[in-house]
């Protein structure tokens, strides 16, 4: 039986969807929402309302923003490592299918093969784009020259998860590689934070692949330098301030 939700918590739904709660209130509400489909639905409704309120007339962006977006995503995709590996030999499946078609000579199989070919072409294109993104990542690392700082984010214990965080001081960008991370709880994701003057600045939200690894490609750091980086588990949309305990932490050497 679902426990009754106090009115004081129920009344936080609108504020939660708006992001107007204190971190403590937000945590309390999220805890209640986990056991209450009714509360979750209410938040979903308010988020739909938020989308409508965005339609209020306002200034328009410059046209070049669309081009900048295309440039940006060329270097910003989280590449699922396992998936990328599985796409390295897509033609083998097509060749196998082709052998079946040749042996049987059935029109139905030919149609299936054509569909597979289209799919394979699509996957090949995706692999090529991923390769381009990895080249961008490599460029991020190489362009740092002598100004590359590596921060190891660690947890305690043997065989513990970790993240290698590469900070390009010249461009003030970073890439990170996570390993041995357990799956995030349902409805949650990992979020990277950088510490600047004692305050956490939110970074990318990500989820590891089934093997516990993830690549977080080039992202921009706040101006003024950082002193440390950390990882917490947060709601899927990310948080503005950390709401959960730190699972990984690493300090920049010399700070």
């Amino acid at each position: 039986m679902t426990p009754a939700i106090p009115d004081s918590v129920r009344e936080l739904a609108a504020g939660y969807a708006l992001g107007a709660l204190t971190p403590g209130e937000a945590r309390e509400f999220e805890t209640a929402m986990r056991d209450s489909p009714e509360l979750a639905l209410e938040v979903t409704e308010y988020r739909e309302l938020n989308a409508l309120l965005a339609l209020r007339p306002g200034p328009r962006p410059e046209g070049r923003l669309r081009d900048r977006l295309v440039d940006r995503i060329g270097t910003a995709k989280v590449v699922p490592l396992a998936a990328a590996r599985s796409r390295t030999t897509p033609w083998l499946g097509v060749l196998a299918a082709a052998a079946v078609v040749l042996a049987g000579g059935l029109a139905l199989r030919i149609r299936t093969l054509t569909e597979q070919l289209d799919q394979t072409k699509h996957e090949l294109g995706a692999s090529e784009r991923q390769l381009a993104r990895r080249e961008e990542t490599l460029n991020t690392l190489l362009s740092a020259q002598a100004e590359l700082t590596v921060v190891q984010l660690k947890a305690t214990g043997d065989n513990a998860p970790g993240i290698q965080f590469f900070w390009n001081r010249r461009a003030n960008t970073a890439v990170a590689q996570a390993f041995r991370l357990p799956p995030a709880p349902k409805g949650k994701a990992y979020q990277l934070w950088v510490m600047q003057n004692g305050k956490p600045v939110p970074g990318p939200v990500f989820v590891p692949e089934t093997d516990g690894r993830a690549l977080i490609l080039t992202f921009v750091l706040p101006a003024g330098g950082i002193q440390a980086a950390a990882v917490t588990v947060e709601p899927e949309g990310g948080s503005t301030t950390p709401t959960m305990p730190i699972v990984l932490f690493g300090q920049v050497a010399g700070t």
Partner: protein, 222 residues
């Protein structure tokens, strides 16, 4: 911005009202739904992300501008938000709302991240409109289909009507909470009113807007 996604499960009341919005999508079978576009994005199709930008780029920018208060910051927020959508499209959960709601949530989160990390607040919401008197409700910078524009303009009109129906104190609370991204306590401080009063005011205003605008959601919930 046409939320071309179709209705899932809706209450009888909503089902009765929604054809007003659905008509546009039904008349335009060639219009690709938001969800279909996002599926293409998840497969790495950059053109699909461009199409989503055409639909939602302008409203997202306006939201970001109002919260951050600076064009350069607003641009960066939109880029970050859509880059996040690009990275996480495969994890979008349709049962938790529409694509429009998801993108708006990400964009507002990134905007709030920025202003709170910097410890500063945005300018008054009206500045955003005043900065561009030629502003058009929610039109993208690309070339969305005309049905999208019609539905978007219709929704924008309903939003304006709904906001106008609020009492002045309620409207002010929504201005500050939604359009400027202030927290309850920040609103109370700015207006020099008790925190409890502000919480109640925001909640009642949002409830009223929700009831009024529910038929026009991009995707029905329930």
């Amino acid at each position: 911005m046409l939320g071309a996604d179709m209705v899932l499960a809706v209450s009888p009341l909503v089902r009765e009202i929604r054809p007003l919005v659905m008509t546009h999508a039904a008349a335009s079978p060639a219009v690709e739904t938001d969800r279909a576009l996002l599926e293409r994005v998840a497969r790495g199709d950059e053109r699909a992300l461009g199409q989503l930008y055409d639909r939602y780029g302008a409203p997202l920018y306006a939201v970001a501008y109002r919260i951050a208060g600076e064009p350069a910051d607003a641009e960066e927020i939109v880029l970050e938000a859509l880059s996040q959508a690009w990275r996480e499209a495969a994890r979008f959960q349709a049962d938790k709302g529409s694509v429009a709601a998801w993108l708006t949530m990400i964009c507002r989160s990134r905007a709030l991240d920025l202003v709170r990390a910097r410890g500063r607040r945005a300018k008054l919401a009206d500045k955003a409109v005043a900065a561009d008197p030629e502003a058009v409700p929610g039109l993208g910078t690309g070339t969305p289909d005309s049905d999208s524009q019609v539905a978007q303009a219709e929704r924008a009109g309903r939003v304006a009507d709904a906001l106008a129906s609020l009492s002045p104190p309620q409207r002010q609370a929504i201005e500050l909470a939604y359009y400027e991204g202030l927290s309850h306590s920040e609103i109370a401080e700015r207006l020099n009113e008790p925190l409890g009063t502000i919480k109640t005011r925001v909640r009642l205003a949002m409830q009223k807007l929700r009831e009024t605008l529910r038929p026009y959601y991009f995707e029905a919930t329930g």
